[in-house]
């Protein structure tokens, strides 16, 4: 039985912090990243990792959201370079 | 009810925060002003905390054991830290006068001050280890800052030794942790007093003594330590020797607190006294052979470490008072001597053969250096006399007249080599060109100010030693125990 839990501030806060850290790292990456490739690979890895204990999600949201933050930071970097 | 906030951790935390900021701003223009403000604010730090035990993170007693990290603060520690901070701020003020002063030097100095204060305050072995390692790295950095090849070499040697001694110290802490199940020093003492000794505890004691020897420069680490004092800039060396002596006092008190009064401590006791005698004698014998003023002072620093260690190792309340008092006096006059060496080497160099005839050029500085020299040789009415008298008295009280005789002989040796250096620097006749050269080189006002403050303190403590002794005595009575041979 998978308990999907509720998406609330309590369960998502950790992932949001991850997004921030990912963003911080993402703005330093200079090459253009293939967003769809990384998202698909990221979702796969997150599913394999599983969620953290006590967080009853089907996959690791902190992993995915950090990746999203990193990709977003990379896009911002590209925009501001020009 | 108004609860007064205990700001004790600020003694450690405030310099650390400022160190990080100084490291970040590195080459900014405001460094000199900020460093001056920092130097002034350091002096009020020791008066922020209130006496007693302080628990970090509110983890106090739980089921009979102290669960977190604890600090113990009392008047004796307060006065040690006050002297430390005072010398730190004077060195900082001297550093402002340097041409290439930058944020990194200030940052390292502050980090060292904070860590040494932490070592003095902490009542927890592992915390002591962590901050002890910071001090080792800081000392390496301060030596490297002078940038010569010899400085790099001695820093490398010091670093290798430091890593080894640090690992051995941690091994000792691991032994004591496994044998007693705690890292808190008071709890550990209770356990050791109520349980039979095991070989693991002997191992732990041995390793603690190794850590002590490295941290303070007792034999067999005396050459490495003397080397780093000699290779650093002289005003930095005054800070380095202050760190070493404060660490000596702190770790020696830890050892006495842990093992004092236990039956198996006697052998280690003898070993500590022997080590300190070796330090005293080696230091002064090596100092007599030197031709470089900085090197001479460095070996004297080692010799003085021997005095402090001897006083503390005697372990009676009087011995501990004498040891701590001598350490405080030592901070003051040895720093004054190193600052004097800084002024002299600004004038020309620190090689004794090249100097001479400085007395008419700067009579005030010569007088102040003479005061410090008389203080280190134990001449009344300077502070060195008071503490050496106490040390000899403590040695006589435990029925060890030999120790007192050695101390007096070493004092005589110190006097001889100091007066030789004074003659060679200030009195020896020199050529006209040299005097012209002296007149063209300028000495920074900042270092003369620092030297003056330290000289005044030397005389003040020589005339009124009670202002320090009264502060130390209660703590010494708590830790020391009375015995005779």
């Amino acid at each position: 039985m998978i308990n999907y839990g509720l998406i609330t501030i309590n369960t998502m806060f950790l992932s949001l912090v991850g997004m921030l850290v990912g963003f911080l790292l993402g703005i330093t990456i200079n090459t253009k990243l293939n967003i769809w490739f990384y998202l698909i690979v990221g979702v796969f890895i997150a599913y394999m990792l599983g969620s953290l204990p006590y967080y009853n999600f089907p996959m690791s949201y902190s992993f995915i959201l950090s990746l999203v933050g990193l990709l977003f930071g990379n896009i911002i970097n590209k925009v501001f370079k020009k | 009810m108004v609860k007064i906030m205990n700001l004790l951790p600020l003694i450690v935390v405030y310099p650390l925060i400022m160190a990080i900021i100084f490291n970040y701003i590195y080459k900014s223009k405001v460094i000199r002003i900020l460093a001056l403000l920092m130097a002034l604010s350091l002096i009020i730090l020791p008066f922020l905390g209130s006496y007693g035990t302080y628990f970090f993170g509110a983890h106090g007693m739980e089921s009979g054991l102290i669960s977190g990290i604890a600090y113990i603060f009392n008047p004796a520690k307060q006065i040690i830290i006050f002297t430390l901070m005072l010398i730190g701020s004077l060195v900082l003020i001297t550093g402002i006068g340097e041409k290439r002063v930058n944020g990194l030097f200030v940052s390292l100095l502050l980090m060292g001050l904070a860590s040494v204060s932490a070592v003095v305050l902490a009542d927890d072995l592992f915390n002591i280890y962590v901050f002890y390692e910071i001090v080792a790295i800081v000392q390496t950095g301060l030596v490297i800052a002078s940038g010569t090849e010899k400085a790099y070499k001695s820093a490398f040697r010091y670093m290798i030794m430091g890593n080894m001694a640090g690992s051995l110290l941690l091994l000792g802490i691991a032994f004591l942790l496994s044998a007693t199940g705690t890292l808190n020093i008071s709890d550990m003492h209770n356990y050791l007093a109520n349980n039979p000794a095991t070989p693991t505890i002997y191992g732990g004691l041995l390793m603690l003594i190794i850590g002590l020897c490295y941290g303070s420069g007792l034999p067999p680490f005396h050459t490495v330590k003397a080397d780093i004092y000699a290779r650093a800039k002289p005003f930095v060396a005054s800070m380095l020797q202050t760190y070493s002596k404060a660490i000596l006092v702190a770790i020696m008190l830890v050892i006495l607190k842990l093992f004092g009064g236990l039956s198996y401590f006697n052998t280690a006791h003898g070993a500590l006294i022997a080590l300190s005698i070796f330090g005293m004698v080696f230091g002064v014998v090596m100092a007599l052979l030197q031709s470089d003023y900085k090197k001479l002072l460095s070996y004297h620093a080692i010799s003085q470490v021997g005095y402090v260690a001897a006083g503390l190792a005697i372990g009676t309340p009087l011995g501990i008072v004498a040891g701590i008092f001598h350490a405080i006096n030592n901070f003051i006059y040895k720093s004054a001597l190193f600052l004097g060496a800084h002024i002299v080497s600004q004038k020309k160099s620190s090689n004794l053969a090249k100097l001479g005839g400085l007395l008419p050029i700067m009579p005030t500085v010569a007088f102040m250096i003479l005061c410090a020299k008389l203080a280190i040789s134990g001449v009344p009415p300077f502070n060195g006399f008071q503490s050496k008298l106490l040390l000899a008295e403590a040695a006589m009280n435990v029925n060890m007249p030999e120790l007192a005789i050695i101390m007096i002989l070493v004092s005589v040796g110190t006097f001889v080599s100091m007066m030789k250096a004074f003659y060679l620097i200030f009195l020896k006749p020199c050529s006209e060109e040299q005097i012209k050269e002296y007149k063209t080189t300028k000495v920074s006002k900042y270092s003369i100010f620092s030297l003056a403050v330290l000289t005044i303190l030397c005389i003040l403590l020589g005339i009124y030693p009670d202002i320090v002794i009264n502060q130390i005595t209660p703590y010494a009575n708590e830790i020391g125990r009375i015995w005779t041979l």
Binding site: - | Y152, N163, S167, A174, T223
Partner: protein, 150 residues
């Protein structure tokens, strides 16, 4: 204290793997206590490190020896936390607390080791930096040249 010698003694370090193999055999054949075996291994590792620091005439090898010494200390600490049949000190949601508390290994030594690893890494960085500069200067790593006192 002297840190360099003209003769190279590092051949003696070959003894270390032999002793280790002997200890593994003791564990397998004679059912030696695991904790005791780790303690002895740690002690020998520390002694090997000390040996390397004093008797090997190469700065880089000295640094490696220092890490061996540090690892010996770390292993001692880790082994203090050992409990026969213990579990990792991480409480999963499904575990009952009292059962966990009695079975979990001691967390304190592990925390100390984590701290010590970083301390050693930082010391290592400085020593490596210094040896890079000296290698550039002398084109050799011999301790008898680099660490020579003058």
């Amino acid at each position: 204290m002297i840190l360099y010698y003209d003769i190279n003694y590092d051949i003696i370090l070959i003894l270390y793997p032999i002793i280790e193999i002997a200890i593994i055999l003791l564990i397998l054949v004679m059912n030696m206590d695991l904790q005791l075996a780790s303690f002895i291994t740690a002690g020998i590792l520390a002694i090997v490190g000390l040996y390397g620091v004093f008797f090997v005439d190469n700065v880089l090898k000295k640094i490696i020896a220092l890490s061996a010494l540090g690892n010996g200390v770390n292993l001692t600490l880790i082994a203090i936390g050992y409990k026969a049949g213990g579990i990792v000190p991480i409480k999963m949601p499904s575990m009952e607390f009292t059962m966990f508390a009695t079975k979990a290994v001691y967390p304190l030594p592990q925390a100390l080791v984590l701290t010590n690893i970083v301390i050693e890494a930082s010391m290592l960085a400085i020593m490596l930096a210094l040896s890079i500069v000296f290698y550039k200067k002398y084109k050799t790593l011999k301790a008898s040249i680099i660490l020579k006192e003058d």
